[in-house]
Each structure stands twice: as C-alpha cells, then as structure tokens.
C-alpha cells in the first residue's frame, strides 16, 4: 500500500468545537479564501481546472469545466450547493455538514468568486435536522465575520447565502428537480437542455455542486491545482469520502485516495462481512449503481475503473451484501424504493418501476415463470435513456445487473416458489 496522502476533508473532523468559527479559524480556516480573493477569479478557476476534481455527487462531471460553461457578462449568476444527499447508502455529506460546516461555506464563497455568482443557496434535505442547525449557526457566524455579505474581506466580491431545507423527496437530489423545489414547486425534473449552467434557478445561469466537491475547494486552493491533481490516479484525482454500509463490521465514512483497491476499502477499513460470511455483491456507488460481485473486489476504486467494470463510482457509497441474503430481497428493496420516489412525470419510469416491483413480487409468491426474467430485463432496457432524468435508470441499472449476474439464483427462486405454491 502506497503512503496515503494527508487527510483533506476529515483532518481533525472530531476536534471539539470544530463547527465553530473560532476553532475553524484557529486551524487555518478561511486562509484559502483570503488567498483566493487576492487573485483574479480566472486564476482561481484555472486552479480548480488544474486540480481536475470531478463532482462528488454522482455524475462525476469535472467541476472546473462546469464553471467555465457559465455564460459571461453582466448577468446574475447563482451557485447552489446540493446537500440533498438521499442516494441510499450515502451519508458522507452529513458528517461534513454537521462537524465542519465552515469548510463548506469557505468552499462556496471561493467557488462563487471563481464563477462570478452573487447569490448562493444550500439545499439541504429536510430529514437532516441537526446538520441544518450546525449550518445555520455557522452561516450566521460567517456573516458576522464578513465572510459572507457585501465586499467580502474588503474585496469587490459580494455573496448572499441562504440555507433552504427540503421536505423529504429523493428526486430533489436531481439537479433540475432541486431547482424546481428551490423555486417553491413540486420537485419535478426539467427537460435538459437547457442545462442549469445556462438556464437554472429563476432561469439564470446556475452552478450546482455537491457538498463534498465544494468542501474540497479550500484544500485545492491551499495546495494548488497541480499539487492536488497528484493525489489519486489519472482522471480520478484527489481523495474521496466513501460511505461503507450494509454487511460490514465497521460501517462508516472513510476518506481514501481514489484508486485504492476496493478490497482494502471493504476489508481493511470497514472490516469486511461478519465472521464466516463472504461478499455476495456490492454497490460501489449507492443503490443506483450496477452491482459488482465478490470477484470484482480487486477493481481499483476510481471513476474510470468502476466504469470499466460495468458499474459506477456514483456518490461513493459502498453497500455490501453478504452471501446469506437472497438476491431477490435486495432487488425488491431497491425496486420498491424507486417506485416510491418516481415523481411520475415520465411514463417509462413511472410504469417501469411499478411493473418491476410487481414482477419481483410474482417471483416471491411463486406466480412467476422463467419468462418473466426476460420481460423484466427488457423493461429495464426500455427505461434507460428514455426519461427526463435518471431516476428510472437508477433502478434499471442495478436490477438489470442483478438479473444478468444472478440469473441462476432468480431461476432457482422461481422454481422453488412455484413448487411451494403448487403443493400449498
């Protein structure tokens, strides 16, 4: 194992009072903001582009490129921080929000300077009561200290920051649904294009980034873009917070250098499955990512390697399922979730999630035939790429991968349930 780089996001995360401005400043907090404001916005943007940091929310789009897509000129630009963290298995942002909110605020102010945004919003999911409280206090402190507001630290940059709490809807983590929700509507996704960079919040150019991405910005400015890009592997630079959960002995958040072997993450850090159990399958990036099996444990944990293995890094949420769990239970749980959360706007998603649940239930009750697996697989194919947003895909991809990888088990389950039903 190579020498791990210094922690960037979790360094001293549990120091008492880190969430207060006093302790945060005592540890060098807001120094990166001073450094950034002494430069031209273009220089800060160049630093972010040089860092090659990719978005930590799920899509993995390069942050610097996203900023450069914003139209120039005298026009009101918005920055929105996506703190709706609701991808099942993901809880990394929660730890940052609750324990180190000032790091996020500093990142937001720096990013807004680079993007030329004058209004910013943090959309936090409604269930996060304690993190919202920590953020609210931190925002008030930052405002009183002049880090948010008019002419920040005597510079020409001004920024307002409003904390907006959601009210319980997975779909609001999707960027355009989030914008609708922030505008006070039902959280329905919008047609893209236009992308939010051109027409986002209140029809204005909008930069949307995940909490972790923005919280990394102060570290990037401190280290310099090139230096940051040396951490990790090509095309997956930096460190990443990974939430490991499910059948592991030490579930929790770990900050790792991108590119480490997945086995190290699941076994060395999270302790692996309980004694005597083996990894049956695992989701590398939240419940929306296609599952990998115990044979894939040596795949490096980075964006490209995961894509090559047929899955995705997603939000960095590893969910481990051990060999004592029937794959049908996992599939049913996942499908039911997406059925509940589908906003209902697009037919393939609304109907596809519903029928997938029904077909999986048929397997359980012994009404299914092996042909159902074909139909179910074809339903998944018809969802992918045919909706406004990727919620339907987010069910179709894992379910499709489960049918492909555990076909024997599904068929076996169908036969056993049919036999049991016949004799009953």
């Amino acid at each position: 194992m190579a020498v791990a780089p210094a922690l960037l996001l979790f360094d001293g995360i549990d120091i008492p009072g880190l969430r207060t401005l006093e302790v945060y400043e005592g540890r060098g907090g807001y120094e990166s903001l001073r450094k950034a404001l002494a430069q031209e916005p273009q220089e800060v943007l160049a630093t972010l582009e040089a860092s090659e940091i990719r978005g930590r929310g799920g899509a993995g789009f390069a942050m610097g490129k996203k900023i450069s897509f914003l139209p120039k000129g005298a026009i009101e630009r918005y920055l929105v921080c996506n703190a709706d963290e609701s991808e099942p298995g993901t809880f990394k942002d929660r730890e940052l929000l609750e324990k180190n909110p000032h790091m996020l605020i500093e990142g937001i102010v720096i990013a807004s300077y680079a993007a030329g945004a004058s209004r910013s919003f943090i959309y936090i999911r409604g269930e996060y009561v304690e993190p919202a409280l920590a953020l609210e206090q931190a925002i008030a402190e930052a405002r009183a200290a002049g880090y948010i507001g008019e002419h920040i630290l005597g510079s020409g940059h001004s920024l307002s920051l409003v904390l907006h709490r959601g009210a319980g809807a997975y779909i609001c983590g999707e960027e355009t649904a989030l914008l609708d929700s922030l505008e006070g509507k039902r959280g329905n996704p919008r047609l893209k294009p236009p992308f939010p960079a051109n027409q986002g919040l209140y029809q204005g150019p909008t930069l949307i980034n995940n909490v972790e991405t923005l919280a990394t910005v102060p570290s990037i400015v401190r280290l310099g873009g090139e230096e940051y890009a040396r951490i990790g592997v090509a095309n997956s630079t930096g460190t990443k917070l990974v939430s490991v959960s499910g059948h592991v002995q030490r579930p929790g958040n770990y900050e790792v250098e991108l590119g480490i072997p997945s086995r190290e993450l699941i076994y060395d850090l999270a302790g692996g499955p309980p004694e005597g159990r083996k990894v049956k399958c695992w989701f590398p990036g939240g419940s929306s990512s296609p599952v990998l099996t115990g044979d894939d444990l040596d795949v490096p944990y980075d964006f490209d390697s995961m894509a090559k293995a047929g899955s995705m890094l997603g939000s960095g949420a590893v969910i481990v399922v051990d060999d004592a769990t029937p794959i049908l239970d996992v599939a049913l749980k996942v499908a039911k979730f997406y059925r509940h959360e589908s906003c209902g706007k697009c037919t393939p998603c609304r109907e596809g999630t519903n029928w997938t649940v029904k077909m999986l239930e048929r397997i359980e009750t012994g009404e299914a035939t092996p042909m159902d697996l074909e139909i179910m697989a074809s339903v998944q194919e018809h969802i992918i790429g045919n909706c406004l947003c990727v919620l339907g895909d987010a069910m179709a991809m894992p379910i499709g991968s489960m049918i492909a990888k555990f076909r024997d088990e599904f068929e076996d389950h169908i036969e056993r349930a049919r036999a049991a039903r016949g004799t009953a």
Partner: protein, 239 residues
C-alpha cells in the same frame, strides 16, 4: 377466413375465457365499490363552485408569529414562491399538520392560492396532509438498514406505538453507519434493535432524551485517521 367462421363456437369459447380472465383480474386488483382504482371516480366535479382564490387578508386571521416567519423567509429569495417549503414547515409546526386552515393562512401571507400550496404539500413526505400524532418516529427501511434488520424494527415499533406516536417507514435517511436507525423527532438514533423499542417509546412519552447513548451526533467518525487527527496532541496544528 371460412375455416375461422366455421369455428364460431371456438371463438366464443375464447372470448368466454377472456372474459373469465378479465373477471379474475378485476377481483385480484383492489378496487373501490364503483369499480375503479381511483378514489372519487363516481363523484361529479362541482362545476358551480368558484375556483379557490388567493385568500383575502381582511378575512383570514394569521397568527402574528407565523406571519412574521413567512414574511422573513420570502425576503430571502428573489421570488417569494421559493418560501413555500419553509412557510409550510412553519405552519405545520404550529398546526401539527398542513390543515386546510394552515394552508389558507400560508396562502394569505404568500399571496398564492391554497391549491398551489396543496400541490406542493402533497409532493413531499415530511409535509403531512392528514392529522398526525405529536411525535414523529421515522424508521429507515431502505437497503442498508434493511440488511441489518430494519424491517423487524419497524414492525415492532409500529405495533408498540400508540396513538401519540407517528411511526413511519422512511426511505434512506442518510445514516447507514448506525443501521438500523430511526429519526425520533428529528434526532438520529442508532443502531437500534427490537429490544430498544420499549425504552425508546418510554423516553419519548416521558419527554426524556431518547436513548441518550445512541445519538448519532455523539458518534466519532469511523475513519481511524480522522479520529487520530482529532486527538488532543493535534489540536491547532491541523492544516
């Protein structure tokens, strides 16, 4: 064609089996008495009724605290409608749920129709559009929690809770590190087992801190290096 015509009885049989199949299908799907799965299908729309208007401030009495809260939130945004969620939450805190009265008061201050607010309120899981008990217990029953026994926990809690506790199975609450867990009036608590249920409910009803040793906010980070760097020797020398 002629062969088919000769076989008329056969096609009758076929249509009979189809009808039988349709009848079987009808009984399998839960339906209302009027035969549809859609509630209110047999109720005609009242065409005489006026559309709901933006409430008249002269006629709607809005509690002063609620009005101030909503007005303050409307000032946070370039478009006042952005305050819909915070305003509805404030009204729900006051009224216990998004009752017609609550919606009317919010609509009156925000200058929107109650119908608009109802369309918003029905979209979000945390806004209650029916009366609910005073305490909320959201049990996460999503994949990570369910792998560790959340479904049993939910059933047990549900059975043990009385009329004063709103026990709901919730989608991933973002705390899989303490799975299985629940959000008790907004406080994340876990890991929980079915054995904790009586204590949890007792604490909740007595107004005590619920399972104080199991609060997520008091749990250190799992990352060993994160813990190490938070040790006393490192204070002040982090970055």
């Amino acid at each position: 064609m002629s062969a088919r015509e000769e076989g008329a009885p056969a096609s009758q049989i076929e249509s009979r089996t189809r009808a039988a199949r349709a009848a079987a299908w009808l009984t399998r799907v839960p339906r209302f008495e009027h035969g549809s799965r859609v509630p209110g299908w047999d109720e005609a729309v009242d065409l005489e009724k006026d559309p709901a208007l933006i409430p008249d401030p002269e006629q709607v009495e809005v509690p002063e605290g609620l009005r101030r809260e909503i007005e303050a939130r409307m000032r946070d945004y370039p478009d006042r409608r952005s305050a819909a969620l915070p305003a509805l939450r404030a009204a729900q805190e006051l009224h216990g749920w998004c009752s017609p009265e609550a919606l009317e008061q919010v609509a009156c201050v925000m200058r929107v129709t109650p119908g608009y607010l109802e369309s918003v309120a029905t979209f979000y899981d945390m806004l209650e559009v029916h009366p609910v008990p005073a305490h909320d217990v959201y049990v996460c029953t999503n994949i990570s929690c369910s792998l560790r026994g959340a479904d049993d926990l939910y059933e047990t809690l549900r059975a043990a809770a009385g009329d004063d506790v709103n026990v709901r199975a919730f989608e991933c609450l973002g705390a899989c590190d303490i799975a299985p867990m629940a959000s008790v009036d907004g406080t994340y608590i876990g890991p929980l087992s079915t054995a904790d249920v009586p204590v949890l409910l007792d604490d909740l009803r007595a107004g005590r801190e619920v399972l104080a040793d199991r609060h997520l906010s008091r749990r250190p980070v799992a990352d060993p290096r994160g813990r190490e760097s938070s040790g006393e020797g490192h204070l002040g020398g982090g970055s």
